[in-house]
Amino acid sequence: MTTMTGTTQATRVIPGHAKPLWRRMLLTRESAIIGLLVLVVAVASVTVRGFGQPITLNYLLLDIAPILLIALPMTLIMVTGEIDLSVGSMVGLSSVVTGVAVQAGIPFEAAAVIALLVGVVGGAFNGFLVTVVGLPSLAVTIGTLALFRGLAVGLLGTTAVTDFPETWTTLAKARIAGTTIPYIMVPFLILLVVFVILLHFTPFGRGIYAIGLSKDAARFSGVDVERTKFILFMLAGLVAAFAGIFYTLRFGSARGDNATGLELQVIAAVVLGGVSVFGGRGALHGVVAAAVLIGVISSALRLANITSDVINIVTGVLLVLSVVAASVLNRLQQSRRRPGRPPRVTASTAT
């Protein structure tokens, strides 16, 4: 929540809390994204024909549900300064595993459990390579991105499994009675609460921030860095597998190429939501707002008959602007603050 200048503990807290609470609350990247979201929704409702109807919310939430789900563990991973690029492929693999198991005559419920186990094992594999072997997560998960996708395509080839129990495929798209909100939002909200508590209100969560700010300092203050990261990668695998089962049911189709490129949409939402790619900074409400914002923008632009290339350009520009704006603001704040600081701190921030 505070502006982190990346220096010592004392300088991190004091300038951030020098201002009144409401200013600290409002002048954050998270608030900026939420404000932008409200603005875009308002503008789109008025100007884009067909946007301001209840069904929009249904399609929007169905579309972004996998992104919202995976963004939760991804936020935690990126706060530690790591990254998981394999989640999109894990969605595909979990989808294919569900499909192959159902095709082999296993009941859907059991197939889903197998897929979740595959997710945990895949996540643990990532975690093992990152923590025990000590490889950089970027390299490891680029590798498993290809590996999981390869397994998925290898298991099913170019065919698709489409024979899923109708009760489940209907449930995946069902709406909560009296609203246009799809049922998938129920597990999402439960997971959201779990992850908010985990990240913002437990010692484990403080450890995640500590790792992102300084791995060594975290280790010296008693945080089990390896164990924390290992658990996070396993969580990412598990949630990605769950998203894969939802994906399969929503489209009624298990295919090796399901959710190709989803990891980039997730990471875009996480970064736009104010999580620093260097770790140590970010909050879940910003990430959720950013995921919804990206969904709203593409939904509104599609309704305005704007092609997918332009939608990608708009999302990309938004992402770049948000990153640039954050670092520019950071510099401005630092240069404004400098005169009032003790010399020692000035020297350390000026570098």
């Binding site: 929540m1 409702s45 024909r49 109807q53 399609y59 798209k173 409400h285 599609r302 092609t307 997918s308």
Partner: protein, 346 residues
């Protein structure tokens, strides 16, 4: 102290997010639908084309035909689509068309099942659904515009080769993979036609290039080695015919061994221009898009419902009749030769 305040801040922030989400629902709920009544309207001639993906010359050509048709009957044409040919990406665009309340959606499906539910939701909202090029399950669309039948494809290739070699001599077939369903069905039909109507033509061998350029190239070379009297090759696959043409164009057999089959103008242009290939076949995607747009219009106006035996007018292409399974056949495959290949870019 500071920690406690941060907790308060975080809780407040989450609450704000939740409130906004809920406010969003309320907002969209009370906004009313500006498109109410647009769906299912017999005057709503707004037609949206949703190809497998954008930036694909084949679909650029079909959309060109669609645009021409929509202009002729005075509707609104739109083309939308994903950058990559995946069914999940198509679903978003189908949903968008439902929200917009377009008159009809003309789709080339990336998966016969995955987009089914989305299409049916669109139909429930009054949108007419026409598939072309690649069909969905018949119960998720109102009409399928079929580009060609297996018999038609087999016949045109046999006719072309018979004409090019003077209706007698040895021919061979260069197919895709040995278990390609489409190709095998066509080859069976071709064998039947050769036996029934062209007794002087002998089919000496069927080889498989696995739809791989290099394999097809090598198989062509091997065919010409092992059958010195070979007069013609049929390749019912676009990869095979292009590879065979490349081999022939640089060999001594150029102009002596005829080559025909199914190809695309862009791949075959240089071989038609240098005389390696006289003529080859495929359907015309421009006509396909043109017919699909007219069929969509006929559905919107209620002229047809998709029942077998319904007839409708399709501009310059004339009158069409709906066949079994709500399918309309474009007609015989289209023959490309030196005279017309310049008109196509796909």
């Amino acid at each position: 102290m500071t920690f406690a305040r941060k907790r308060v801040a975080a809780i407040a922030a989450v609450a704000v997010t939740a409130a906004l989400t809920l406010a969003g629902c309320a907002d969209t709920g009370s906004g009313g639908s500006p498109t109410d009544g647009a769906g299912g309207d017999s005057e709503n001639l707004s037609i949206t084309f949703l190809p497998k993906n954008l930036g694909n010359p084949y679909f650029d050509t079909s959309s060109k035909g669609g645009t021409a048709a929509v202009e002729e009957f005075g509707g609104t044409f739109n083309e939308v689509g994903p950058a990559e040919a995946t069914p999940d990406a198509q679903v978003s665009y189908i949903n968008t068309a439902t929200q917009q309340g377009v008159g009809a959606l003309v789709v080339s499906a990336n998966d016969p099942n995955a987009i089914c539910d989305a299409l049916n939701e669109a139909r429930d909202a009054g949108v007419k659904v026409v598939t072309f090029d690649s069909d969905t399950n018949p119960d998720c669309r109102d009409l399928f515009i079929n580009q060609a039948t297996a018999e038609g494809i087999a016949k045109i290739q046999v006719d072309l080769i018979a004409e090019q070699i003077g209706d007698e001599g040895e021919i061979a077939i260069l197919s895709a993979s040995a278990n390609a369903t489409n190709q095998n069905a066509w080859i069976e039909d071709m064998k039947q036609l050769l036996a029934d109507e062209h007794p002087n033509i002998t089919l000496v061998e069927v080889v498989y290039g696995d739809d791989d350029d290099q394999t097809s190239f090598d198989k062509t070379a091997a065919l010409l080695q092992s059958h010195p009297n070979l007069k013609g090759i049929i390749s019912p696959t676009t990869v095979g015919i292009a590879a065979a043409a490349r081999y022939l164009s640089t060999s001594d057999f150029k102009g002596k061994v005829a080559l025909t089959g199914l190809g695309t103008p862009n791949q075959m242009r240089e071989y038609v221009e240098d005389g390696t290939v006289t003529a080859f076949a495929l359907w015309n995607p421009e006509d396909l898009g043109y017919l699909a747009a007219w069929a969509a219009k006929a559905l919107i106006t209620g002229e047809i419902t998709g029942a077998e035996g319904d007839t409708f007018e399709a501009g310059k292409l004339g009158s069409y009749e709906v066949g079994p399974d709500a399918t309309v056949l474009l007609g015989d495959p289209y023959v490309f030769d030196a005279d017309n290949i310049g008109d196509f870019d796909f």
